[in-house]
Amino acid sequence: MILVRRRAGGLPTGPARVARARTHELTGGDRVLQWVSGVAATIPLAGLLFITIILVVWAIPAIIYSGFGVFTSDKFFIGNFYSLNFTSVNGVVAPFGANYGALTFIIGTLTSSLIALVLAVPISVGGVLMLSEWIPRRLEGPLSTFLELLAGIPSVVFGFWGLTVFGPFLGAHVFPALSHLGVILPFFKGSWAYNGQGLLTASLVLTLMIIPIIASTTRQLVKRVPVLASEGALALGMTRYEVVRVVTIPYVRTGIIASALLGWGRALGETIAVLLIIGMANNPPVNIYGTTSTLASTIADDLDSALSDGTGMALRAMAMLGLILLIMSLVTNLTGRLVVRRISTESLPVGRGV
């Protein structure tokens, strides 16, 4: 008999409730530690508030200047610093001709991350199912090591590999084949850069980067599927595939969605790999191979140019882009973590490397 406490719903609770001495029995040394560690524990919250406040305060002038144009205009130009005139909108003065439309970057961020998500989820789930159902125990350890390795590869190494190996390979061998699809899907028609730089390559590399997050969470969830249920299904004569379809998938479905959201959050914030691979063009992609930009990569690439703006507005525009990115990431991340916490108290997936 397994003595594990279970909540209604059949899931085990987390680590056993911690036994502590009662509060009024704390000594002086205890209180010191309590206060010091208490302050330390609030630092993440303080840091989060600090980040949000700084971004909001710095972005406000740019938001006032651009209004809804932030979301409707795809032209992002920090202005001509050598003109003797300035452009003034709603009382905010910016260099001549400055326009801070973020539509290009929003489109780039969303399309690259969504393509990556759509590809990563089936690959992760399928791979994990294969790992748990068919791979012998002995090999499981080394293979799961690969998952951790993939999680640990730094973003710049992904970018380096994408720029020097993967992109040229795609440009030479894969895109020509894909362009035949252009007959039915016009977005697949067109030309591409010789080194593969562009939306599709960046999305594929992003896929590789978010697979570890989805795969590791899915693996933990698959391990938790009640043995009785799956064995019962097998006893009824279902094939292994049907067991997966009928028992496992419904059980892990919520968790997969949650981890997919977490993975999406990471893909949104990816900076360096995207910067090296996506081509950094100031317009939405003309086709699936086309170059474009994302919010994160634009901030990283243009921040030093923004600093030469004497009015300071370009830096405000960067903060505005950062704020949009922060909101997008937080929304997806929060939703994902809220769902994950309800079903699992395992530790966060390792591997950030943005």
């Binding site: 987390g14 911690v18 993440p44 914030g269 937080l330 991340n333």
Partner: protein, 287 residues
């Protein structure tokens, strides 16, 4: 309408073939990336790589970048390590339920903030507004904000995984909490804490975006001074030189990528080894 056994069998086979392909798609790129980077880096692994700095035009090396990364890692270990461990202790040992929940939650939210955003904020607040200039301190703070949630979480989990019986024995003996933590809980929890720190350092080693505008870059070895002191780091070398034409630049980028990956892998394996050792110890400790 029942499906024929044949059809069900075929469907099963088709499904598992696809799953096998998926597993292959996970493993192959991982191996391909690591191998191709190491293969490209291998020819550059000569002594001058570690004795010369990037400033050397004839025979550039990575000395300043490696030392810079190590200095930053030390700073992260000190800053994020101390704050994170203390915070984890609070959440595990002191926090009342109503306070602990939100604190944990916000820590996880911080983990979701993109690193370029953290870098941007660190730039505007520290480099510009506080006039620290490109500085080691602003870089360490940016990296610490990034890795703090992991250290807090692993510390808390490590403490809460200490067997209940040990805690009950400490209470029975009338030990104060601080003594309990120091003498009873910390020893078994320590491997987990260290493992968490090591993983956090692995993450920090691979970061570029938050350092671009806080540490900037220096072509010379790190010097003392927390302010107005740019410092080099490995990932920048790859990022910058891969975009330059010429065989020498590409070679330097490859070398830096190879050293970065080796360092990250070393840290990850060290973390796992510590965790595995602890698991064996805990099994023996089972009371």
């Amino acid at each position: 309408m029942s499906k024929t056994p044949r059809l069900r069998h075929v469907r099963g086979v088709a499904f598992w073939i696809l799953c096998g392909l998926a597993l292959l798609l996970i493993i192959t790129p991982a191996v391909a990336i690591i191998l191709s980077v190491l293969v490209k880096a291998a020819p550059q692994l000569k002594l001058s790589l570690f004795t010369n700095t990037t400033a050397d035009l004839q025979n550039p090396g990575l000395q300043n970048a490696i030392l810079g990364t190590l200095v930053l890692l030390l700073g992260v270990a000190v800053v994020a390590g101390s704050i994170g461990v203390l915070g984890g202790i609070y959440l595990a040992e002191f926090a009342p339920r109503r306070l602990g929940g939100p604190l944990r939650f916000f820590s996880e939210v911080l983990a979701g903030v993109p690193s370029i955003v953290i870098g941007l904020v660190a730039y505007t607040a520290f480099v510009e507004a506080l006039h620290w200039g490109f500085s080691i301190l602003s870089a360490i703070i940016a990296l610490s904000l990034l890795t703090l949630p992991y250290i807090v979480k692993t510390t808390e989990v490590s403490f809460s995984q200490v067997p209940r019986s040990l805690r009950e024995a400490a209470i029975a003996l009338g030990l104060s909490r601080i003594t309990t933590i120091r003498k009873v809980l910390l020893p078994p929890a320590l491997p987990g804490i260290i493992s968490g720190m090591v993983i956090a350092l692995a993450i920090a080693t691979g970061e570029t975006a938050p350092l671009l505008y806080t540490a900037s870059f220096s072509n010379t070895n790190p010097s003392a001074g927390l302010f107005h002191n740019p410092i080099g780091y490995l990932t920048y070398v790859t990022y910058y030189y891969v975009q330059l034409p010429g065989a020498q630049n590409q070679a330097l980028a490859s070398a830096a990528a190879g050293v970065t990956i080796l360092l990250v892998l070393l840290l990850i394996f060290a973390g796992r080894a510590i965790t595995a050792r602890q698991r064996r110890l805990m099994a023996r400790l089972d009371v």
